[in-house]
């Protein structure tokens, strides 16, 4: 029952997501995204019209990580943002340790 297809995708940083697409990719209401952009937790440009917001790969990853923490722990959005920031920092530092041959 295998079906073989050759496909090409679009790199998100060449064709960024709209608000609607980001919300859909995360399985959330658009309002969830809007509130986090306005609070400065998620990318997007609060100053410009919502319809012209565009999101890139990093925003999608971050949105999904935020959502995970918020849902798993019923965390408030600021705490979730802090957890995700710390997590990113740990990963960055680990990569540096690895490059230095320490870990």
């Amino acid at each position: 029952m295998q079906e073989m297809t050759i496909v090409s995708g679009v790199l998100l940083d060449d064709a960024a997501l709209t608000l609607e697409e980001l919300a859909r990719a995360c399985g959330v209401e658009q309002d969830w995204v809007v509130r986090r952009v306005q609070a400065g937790i998620l990318g997007g440009q609060p100053a410009v019209q919502v319809t012209s917001w565009r999101f890139r790969s990093g925003d999608l990853l971050r949105a999904r990580s935020l959502l995970r923490v918020e849902r798993d722990f019923e965390a408030n959005e600021d705490v979730a943002a802090l957890v995700v920031d710390l997590s990113d920092e740990v990963r960055r530092l680990r990569a540096r340790l690895h490059a230095l041959g320490i870990e």
């Binding site: 029952m1 295998q2 079906e3 073989m4 297809t5 050759i6 496909v7 090409s8 995708g9 679009v10 790199l11 998100l12 940083d13 060449d14 064709a15 997501l17 859909r24 990719a25 399985g27 790969s57 990093g58 999608l60 990853l61 999904r64 798993d72 722990f73 997590s87 740990v90 990963r91 960055r92 990569a95 540096r96 690895h98 490059a99």
Partner: protein, 309 residues
């Protein structure tokens, strides 16, 4: 397929309250968080916990799971009842593909927030609602070389009840964490609505020679003491081929040389940083020992000056 005891995975009784299940899940998912845990299989364990909670944390799925699992043991061979698919509106039973994922799929189409409704009730053919297929998120691991040259990688995934093998073009210039969006390759829609999309996160295989940050690449380059001290022109194998590099005289270990535009060839190309690492020739031969002894005698060199020796 194998039966999975989700209660056992979360370490709770079958009679546990929704609140106890939530508490147990939170405790374990915190403990096994891949960024925190020292467990070797933390990632695998987290996946298992998420799968268990996805079902037991949802009243409807839990009820369905309880109905299926009377008196069964973890790992036991298991066939869902023949009417299972009709009851929950997904065609076909299991069969084929990887056993682990199929069991979880039994519950994928029920309960909260699954799939997305597309534009209200459908017009075509009359009646029934339309539901756009769910997006799928997956990751694909590539080598640094693939990011320089582009590549084709084959992945297997399940979309709806089908196992699909896709051959995916990895465009040149991708960086870690970037998302490749493959329109229409997610779960199929219902009632004539479109399929979801597939999002592939680009991950890089660990390579002891390189470290990648965004489009920048860092590479250690071993040099001889005389190359570092006197300066030299050396040939360095880099991800984009061999490069002639000038080592400035008086270099020490850790000195960074930037080769502009030789990082990952993204729309804004990254830079390649060569980090010099002075390596000593071993003093195993008579001649080598003589040379070291001569340096020790003739050079007034105090390597510990900086630390006050």
């Amino acid at each position: 397929m194998e039966y999975k005891d989700y209660y056992q995975i979360l370490g709770v009784e079958r009679t546990a309250s929704a609140d106890d299940i939530k508490k147990a899940y939170r405790k374990l998912v915190r403990q096994y968080h891949p960024d925190v845990s020292k467990h070797k299989d933390a990632t695998e364990k987290t996946k298992e916990l998420n799968e268990a909670y996805e079902v037991l944390g949802d009243a409807e799925k839990r009820a369905a799971y309880d109905g299926l699992g009377q008196g069964r043991r973890h790992g036991q061979d298991f066939q869902p009842p023949p009417d299972w698919g009709q009851q929950y509106d997904f065609g076909g039973g299991g069969g084929g593909g990887s056993a682990e994922d199929i069991f979880a799929d039994l519950f994928a189409h029920m309960g909260r927030g699954r799939g997305q409704r597309a534009g209200g009730m459908g017009g075509r053919g009359g009646g029934g609602f339309q539901m756009r297929g769910e997006d799928i998120h997956a990751a694909i691991a590539i080598d640094l070389r693939d990011a320089y040259q582009g590549a084709t990688r084959t992945i297997s995934l399940r979309a709806g009840q089908q196992e699909k093998t896709l051959s995916v073009n990895i465009p040149k210039g991708v960086t870690p964490g970037q998302q490749l969006r493959l329109a229409g390759q997610g779960h199929p829609g219902m009632g004539g609505a479109g399929a979801g999309d597939l999002y592939l996160e680009i991950q890089f295989n660990q390579d002891a020679r390189y470290r990648v940050e965004g489009a920048s690449v860092y590479q250690n380059v071993p040099v001889a003491p005389w190359e570092a001290a006197l300066g030299a022109s050396i040939s360095v194998p880099t991800p984009s081929g061999a490069v002639e590099v000038t080592v400035p005289a008086g270099s020490q270990s850790g000195r960074k040389l930037r080769l502009k535009g030789r990082g990952i060839p993204s729309s804004t190309p990254g830079d390649l940083y060569l980090i010099l690492e002075v390596v000593l020739p071993p003093a195993t031969s008579e001649r080598a020992r003589e040379l070291y002894e001569q340096m020790a005698r003739d050079l007034a060199f105090n390597p510990r000056e900086r630390i006050g020796a």
